[in-house]
Symmetry: C2
Subunit: 401 residues, 2 copies
Amino acid sequence: MVLYSKHIILEHEEFDGFLELEHGKIKALHKEFSGQYEDFSDFIILPGFIDIHIHGWATGSFWFEKNAGALKEMCRTLPYAGVTSYLATSGADTIEEIQRCIKAADEAYEADYPGAEMLGVHLEGPFINPRYRGMQREECCILPSLKVMEDLYNGFRNKELCRHMTIAVELEGAREVLKFCKEHRIQTAIGHSGATFAQIQEIKDAGVGGFTHTFSGMRGLHHREPGAAGAALYFDDMMCEFAKQTGMTVSHEVFDIAYRIKGSGRIIMTTDCSGLAQTQTEFDHYVRRMKFIKDRDMVRIVHYDGREEWMDPKDYQAVREIELSYIGSIRNMAKHSRVDWFDIMRMTSLNPARYIYVDDRKGSIAPGKDGDLTVVDSNLNLISVFCRGKEIRERDEICGK
Amino acid sequence: MVLYSKHIILEHEEFDGFLELEHGKIKALHKEFSGQYEDFSDFIILPGFIDIHIHGWATGSFWFEKNAGALKEMCRTLPYAGVTSYLATSGADTIEEIQRCIKAADEAYEADYPGAEMLGVHLEGPFINPRYRGMQREECCILPSLKVMEDLYNGFRNKELCRHMTIAVELEGAREVLKFCKEHRIQTAIGHSGATFAQIQEIKDAGVGGFTHTFSGMRGLHHREPGAAGAALYFDDMMCEFAKQTGMTVSHEVFDIAYRIKGSGRIIMTTDCSGLAQTQTEFDHYVRRMKFIKDRDMVRIVHYDGREEWMDPKDYQAVREIELSYIGSIRNMAKHSRVDWFDIMRMTSLNPARYIYVDDRKGSIAPGKDGDLTVVDSNLNLISVFCRGKEIRERDEICGK
C-alpha cells in the first residue's frame, strides 16, 4: 500500500511524497510514484502515538480486569485515539494480582491481538511511597525489594515485556532494584515519591530515566527544596512523562513552563487512562469527584453532587467519553503551548520509543520500521491510523474525544 | 580619563579598545588611542551594577535609620560591592516613618553624595499582604489606598525619586494604586502577595512590571494553582527580580530553572540587603536564625544556638561580612548557572535601568551615558569601580565579600 502526503513527518524532515507499506513495515519513501495510492495530500502523517502509561481505555482495563481480554479490547480501540502501541500499566496491587497482570500480558503478547501493539508492561509500583500514593492502594505500597523484583521479572514468560517501572527512589532498597532494572534494560522513572532533590541527585546515576506523571504524586517545587518536581525540571538528562493534558491535574500554564524548560526532546505524553468503566468494585475518583461502581453487568457513575449515570461498560460508544483520549490530550496541549509537528512527533512517538528501547522498530517514519502511522488534519483531528501496516479507519469511532 | 580593555561589554558587542570618560560621562569609544590610559587589558569592563532593591548595606541602613546619613554611607560603600547606583528601599513601616524615609531620600538627592548614585526610592509596601509579610511588620501592612499613595508621592520634593513600588495586587484597591503608578511612571512589582495566577492574569495589564524577590513572599508554584511564582515564570513580558543568590532563600537549582525559562533578558539581580548591623531595636532574622540587637553604640548578634558577637556598626570592615554583597551574589550565581558577560550585564545593569526608566543615562556602556563602570576579573573578583567617572578603588575594601 502506498500513501501520499505533503506532510510526512520524518525524524529530521517534513517529507512531501509517497510512503510505501509492505508486510506491516515501512518499505520505502518515494519522491515520485506512478501507481495507485491513498491520498492524504493535506493531512499530516505522523509516526503512531506510543502510550507508555495506560492502565485501561474505554472497554478494557488491564489494571481493573487483569486479563488478556482487557488487553484485546485496548488493542482494538486504542487506534481510535491515535495510539498504535502501548505499555499495559499495572498498579500497586498485591503481588499475586500483579502476577495476574503479568500473565495477562504474556498471553496477549502471544495472541498478538489486532490493532494497537501491546509492547509490554509498565509496573507502576508496588515500590511506591504510600504518602504519595494518589489513587493507588495504600496497603499494597511496599518497600523496594530485590527478591520481589526478581520474582516479578521471572513471572514474565517473555522477559522483554518487562519494560518500565515507576518507583519511589527514596525508599530503602531502591538502589538494588534500580540496579537490577538497569541490568535488565527495564526503564525506571520516579513517581509516587517523596524524594527530595538531594536524594534524586544522589541516586540518579544508578540509572533512573525520568519522572512518572510529572508534578502529580511527588514532592512539589519549593524554592528552598526543589523536590522531585524541581529535579524533573532541572536535570536535562531526565525525561518528564505527563499524563493526559486535561488542564486540571497539571494546569496548562505549568505544563507550558515545563515544556519551555525541557523542550520537546525531554517530554513524553501519556494518558494514564484507567478504563474507569471497567472497575470491578467501587472506585472513588476524588479528583473528578465521582465514584465508579460495578453493578452487575453495568457501571454506575455517582457524582459527588448526587447525579447518577448508568452505562454498559462494554459499549465503546457509551464509555469512550469518560476519559480524555490520547489525541484529545495532544489537541488540548497544542492549544496552550507552541508546538510544531516535530515537537508533537517527539513527545508522542520518538521519545517514548527510545525511552523503552523499542526505537529499532517504533518511534519514527523510516524504511524498515513498523508501519505505525497516525494521520491527522491541521487541527489534530484524527483522519486515519495504521497499525503495523493495517489501516484502522472506523469513521464513527475514530474522531476520538 | 581613558581606560583600555579587550573586554568592554557593550549592549550588543564585546569591544576591544579604549573607553574615554569626561565630566562624569562616557565620552567615546576608540579602537585606537595614542595618549595615556589606565590598562585593564584582560579585565572585563561592565556597566555598573544597579541594585533596585536594597534597604541598607554595611554601615548604613535606609530602612532602619531613615535618615540621609544612612544613604551617605550606602553611597560611600556600595562601590566596594560593585554597585554604582541603587534605589533606597523602604519597608512596611508606619506612614509617618515612610515619610521620614522619603525626606531622607530627597535630602540625599540634593546633597548628591559621592560614590554610588541614589536614584530614588523603592517603596516595598505598605500595601502588602500580612500573610506573606516575611520580615516586614504585620501591623504596618495596609490595604492599597489611592489617598495614601498620593500622600506618599506628594511627600517627595523631587517626584522623580518615587520610582518603584512592591505591592500585593490581590488586595482591594490595588487597581487604583497601579493606575496611579502607571500614570506617574512608578514601576510596580508583585511581592509579599498571596495573589493567585488568575488574579495576576486579570490585573497585569493595569501595568504591573514584574515580581519582587521572586519565589519569596508569594504563593508558590503548584501544578493545579501556578500561583505568583508560576506567573513569574510564565509571563514573558514580566520581569523577575531576585534577591542575592546565597543559595539559601532560593536554591541555586530553582534559580537556574527560572533563569532557563526567563533568560537573562527578564531577570534583575538585587541584594535586598538590610544593613542589619544598623538595627535600631531588636531584629529577629528567623531565616538566618539570629537576632540583631542594638546595644548602646554596639550591635549584638545573638545566634539561636546561643553564640554571641559584638560589633561596632559603623566599622565597615567589621560589618561588611554580615550580608552577601552584590558582587558576591553574582559570583555565586555565575558558579551555578551558565551565564556569559552579556547575561551578567543584562541582569545587573541593562534590565534594572530600563525597568526603572533610567536607561537614558544608565544600564549600558555607550557614549553619552554616565561613567558608571564595574571592572572585574574573569572570576568575577572586583578590580575597580567608576561612579560617574570617578574611580573608587579602595584596595582593602573593594574585594567584596
